[in-house]
């Protein structure tokens, strides 16, 4: 009983934190890239992801990353695709990689921390997830 409570309480807390962290996110963003090829690929990624073709969406993102390897948003999109695929470790690493290129873009970084938080809770690391969600709030 105690053990169950010990497990569920932080889980509930995390979920609460996660929900308030996720809801107000993503204000309309400026153009993802000034390169029309990257924009075209991102359109493709979004329609592939919407159709549930996550593997293909990942492949399209890799194509985009070959064109703009330092575009933090592309790394983030790839992190999100991996998160949706349930590949949590990859999601976490890719979001961290995105942070490396995000420099002053606080919105982007906050979103990366949210992805890291979700990826960590997906792996059962609730404490780590909480830390990540708190980082997201501070960005």
């Amino acid at each position: 009983m105690m053990i169950a409570a010990r497990r569920t309480v932080p889980l509930v807390l995390i979920l609460l934190l996660a929900s308030c962290a996720v809801v107000p996110s993503t204000p309309p963003r400026p153009e993802a890239s000034s390169n029309p090829a990257v924009v075209a690929l991102l359109d493709r990624v979004h329609s592939q992801a919407a159709a549930g073709e996550l593997e293909q969406a990942g492949a399209s993102l890799e194509r985009a990353l070959r064109i703009e390897p330092r575009n933090a948003l592309l790394w983030q999109e790839l992190a999100r695709v991996r998160l949706d695929q349930g590949l949590y470790r990859q999601a976490e690493s890719l979001a961290a990689k995105s942070n490396g290129f995000a420099a002053g873009d606080r919105t982007l970084r906050a979103e990366n921390w949210r992805i890291i938080g979700q990826a960590r809770s997906g792996q059962g690391d609730y404490r780590g997830a909480q830390t990540a969600f708190e980082r997201a709030e501070r960005e």
Binding site: N35, A37, A40, G58, L78, R89, A96, G100
Partner: protein, 780 residues
């Protein structure tokens, strides 16, 4: 039915002679039985022939090698590319230059404008249709892509990828199997014009052809044998010198049978891959694909009219018409083929005239292998073997999409060849005694863009990039310094290291007394200078302070996956690694502390183009961002003011290249590993017999690296500054805090809070400071 009538006719003839009804009856029965037996035997024989020829045909047709492709070139506005580079890529793909490019696979180049019609191709994520477009170039980039039909803009276009090799059935049998749709139509035209004009009309044998051949032979102007292509194919299946009527008859029956079972295109495709075209020692050259590589050193797709005619001409007698041994004869025969083609209406008179005066185009010496990139291919093969059975690779016709960038590969091959020769000539080193290997990868996604396994890039044997394990010398030092920088409270770039004599005595081992390259000791040296100048003694002492195991742990984290013994000498690079392993270590440094497994394959599709497996980009953070940042800054100093300063003779300083030289005892191994913003290169130079090569990392490997990278448009290395990094002015002599304007003061990055607090004489705490500095200090 006909046979039955014949029997009845036979009966009538005999009735007159015989008198006994009984005898007649017995004889009739006997004849009937005998005929049936003959019939049965004939049927069985035909079934047997059918089985034999089909087995042979299927065996040839379905052993499809895995086909290996280079990366496709993606065209988009803003791409760094010159018109000549695009044209080189199109040539590699076998596109033809045409006055007005209309067909897929053709192009036209005028100054800053290239018009082309791309070939259709199916990738794992869908089809790219044939597109007719105009590519306009700016100074060093693609300015615009437009559809020629309506001038509309194209954002992105993926060309078809170059075929770079195959994984073939059998151990020693090398073939270059081609698919019907990859065979130039001109070749098929030539073949039909000369060997079998009625190929598409007959059913395996061609009575008219036989008759004509007979007439022609008698009249003495024969260019035609009577056999159809189908018969020739059958003949090739059962090669024997025997020339009997029975054999000819078998051939005809089998030809008829083949035509019943298979389409003309299937038969033609098998013929093209099967037919005998020459001899190379004890190796038989079968098929036009291999012949094209053997005679012209290029893929069949790229041969022109005269070359197609030459190959077809050789069918009549590959030895007699060998263009290498009997060029005159071969040329006459080729021109005869061209004449036949013109007569059959396949080519115009103009083409005929132009073809006749074209040189043979045969390369002097046949290339050694069938792939231009055997070293890269062996890496691909190794990575595939982890996931597939070898027989599937050799027979299922898988399509393998790799990361090879032919442009980078070309630059790498030529740099290694040229530079080794230059080094030998310039330094009085015996000719051809030096060897080398190198890899180029993408810094962010770990794709291997080029791999050279030795001086002769076509050599299919020992692949030094994968299999030469050599001590890496100072290439290990960044790992030692990284281990230190990960403890910011103890070590910073400004920390003074002790470079005075060191003697390590351990029970059971020899005394260890590392020396510096210049045989001097340098007293107190700033950490970043110890790395930049590659001081051994201070590095060894630092490594011993940190502990050999913790340095080796870091090495494993960076990507080395084999056991390391862990001696003190490991700290100075006594352990041996292959260039591939070194590339994996530096990949992690170049990737900002994220380990990305090196990949040579993007995806594998089935024969029918269905996705089978993807090898996705994977990253894992193994070094924290601030430590990684500090280390790479220090590696930039190696180039800016350390052992790799010479790089500036080849490359502009603004690229901010980070790198490290490595030299081993007695100059046996010369290494350089370095990266720009987009590419990482690792080069090894040395001798196969492990004798001294007489080169340092900077005088040997680094010059190859520089020569190679100078041929590629590199992106500068601009490091994003991670959180928690501050910049502080330092007095390098004392390692203490200083201010801008003090003599020798340098501004260095520190993990926040790790910079020295104490001030150097000219620094912020010094009495003679200005009032402004005093205020700055108060309000810091």
């Amino acid at each position: 039915m006909k046979l039955y009538k014949f029997l009845r006719f036979g009966k009538k003839a005999r009735r007159k002679k015989t008198t006994s009804n009984r005898r007649r009856l017995t004889k009739r029965k006997f004849l009937l039985a005998a005929s049936l037996a003959v019939l049965l035997l004939a049927a069985m024989y035909i079934i047997y022939l059918d089985f034999t020829v089909r087995t042979r045909f299927e065996g040839r047709r379905f052993a499809l090698p895995a086909r290996v492709y280079a990366r496709p070139l993606e065209l988009y506005p803003g791409l760094k590319l010159k018109p000549a580079e695009l044209v080189a890529e199109l040539e590699l793909l076998g596109y033809r230059e045409a006055a007005a490019s209309r067909e897929p696979g053709s192009y036209r180049w005028r100054n800053q404008l290239v018009e082309l019609v791309s070939r259709p191709f199916t990738y794992g994520d869908g089809a790219q249709e044939a597109t007719s477009l105009r590519v306009t170039f700016g100074s060093d980039r693609v300015k615009a892509l437009q559809r020629r039909a309506d001038n509309s803009a194209i954002e992105l276009l993926r060309l078809d990828p170059a075929l770079i090799g195959g994984i073939y059935p059998g151990n020693n049998e090398d073939r270059v199997l081609v698919r019907r749709d990859e065979v130039p139509q001109l070749l098929v035209d030539a073949l039909i014009a000369v060997e079998d004009v009625r190929f598409y009309a007959h059913r395996g044998i061609d009575p008219r052809g036989i008759a004509r051949a007979l007439v022609m032979t008698v009249s003495g102007k024969s260019v035609q044998g009577g056999s159809t292509l189908t018969q020739q194919l059958v003949k090739n299946f059962f090669l024997s010198a025997e020339r009997t009527v029975r054999r000819k008859l078998n051939e005809m029956i089998m030809a008829l049978l083949l035509e019943v079972h298979y389409s003309k295109e299937e038969i033609l495709e098998t013929y093209l891959n099967e037919v005998y075209l020459g001899q190379d020692g004890n190796r038989a050259i079968h098929g036009f694909g291999l012949a094209s590589s053997f005679f012209f050193d290029k893929p069949l797709m790229q041969i022109d009219l005269a070359e197609a005619a030459l190959l077809v001409g050789m069918l009549k007698g590959p030895a007699y018409y060998s263009p290498r041994r009997h060029p005159q004869r071969a040329q006459e025969r080729r021109n005869l083929v061209l004449g036949e083609m013109a007569e059959a209406g396949f080519i115009t008179d103009q083409q005929l005239l132009a073809g006749r005066i074209t040189p043979l185009g045969v390369v002097e010496r046949p290339p050694r292998g069938t792939s231009p990139y055997p070293a890269f291919l062996s890496l691909v093969h190794r990575q595939l073997r982890r996931d597939y059975r070898d027989e599937d690779l050799r027979s299922e016709g898988l399509q393998v999409f790799t990361t090879l960038d032919p442009w980078v590969q070309r630059s790498a091959e030529s740099a290694l060849g040229k530079q080794l020769q230059r080094l030998e000539q310039g330094r009085g080193i015996a000719a051809d005694s030096l060897q080398g290997a190198l890899l180029v990868t993408d810094t962010q996604n770990g794709e291997v863009q080029a791999l050279v396994g030795g001086r002769d890039p076509r050599f299919e044997g020992f692949n030094r990039a994968l299999d030469a394990h050599r001590p890496i010398g100072s290439l290990i030092k960044p790992v030692v310094f990284l281990t230190a920088l990960q403890q910011p409270q103890s070590y910073t770039l400004a920390t003074l290291l002790d470079d005075s004599p060191l003697l390590l005595q351990q029970p059971g081992t020899d005394d260890w007394q590392p020396q510096n390259y210049d045989k001097e000791f340098h007293g107190q040296v700033p950490l970043r200078m110890a790395l930049a100048r590659s001081y051994n003694v201070s590095t060894a002492r630092l490594g011993l302070q940190l502990g050999v195991p913790s340095v080796l742990d870091n090495l494993r984290r960076l990507g080395v996956d084999h056991e390391l013994p862990g001696y003190a000498a490991s700290l100075l690079g006594a352990d041996a690694f292959s260039p591939l392993e070194v590339a994996q270590i530096y990949q992690t440094l170049a990737g900002g502390g994220f380990r990305t497994p090196l990949r040579a394959i993007r995806e594998v599709l089935t024969f029918d183009g269905l996705p089978l497996q993807r090898y996705p980009l994977a990253v894992e953070q193994v070094v924290d961002a601030p430590s990684s940042y500090l280390l790479v800054t220090a590696l930039q100093d190696v180039v800016r003011q350390g052992t790799a300063q010479g790089l500036h003779r080849y490359l502009p300083a603004e690229l901010g290249i980070a790198g490290k030289t490595g030299t081993t005892d007695d100059f046996r191994d010369s290494w350089f590993a370095g990266f720009s913003g987009d590419r990482l290169g690792v080069v090894w130079v040395g001798r196969d017999d492990n004798q001294p090569a007489g080169l340092t990392g900077a005088s040997g490997a680094m010059t190859v690296w520089a020569e190679m990278m100078a041929g590629l448009a590199l992106e500068p290395l601009i490091l994003p500054v991670p959180d928690g990094i501050e910049r502080v002015w330092i007095d390098p002599q004392s390692g203490l805090r200083s201010v801008a304007g003090c003599p020798d003061a340098v501004e260095l990055p520190f993990v926040a809070g790790s910079a020295p607090a104490e001030s150097a004489p000219c620094g912020p705490g010094f009495k003679g400071n200005s009032l402004k500095n005093w205020f700055e200090r108060i309000f810091r």
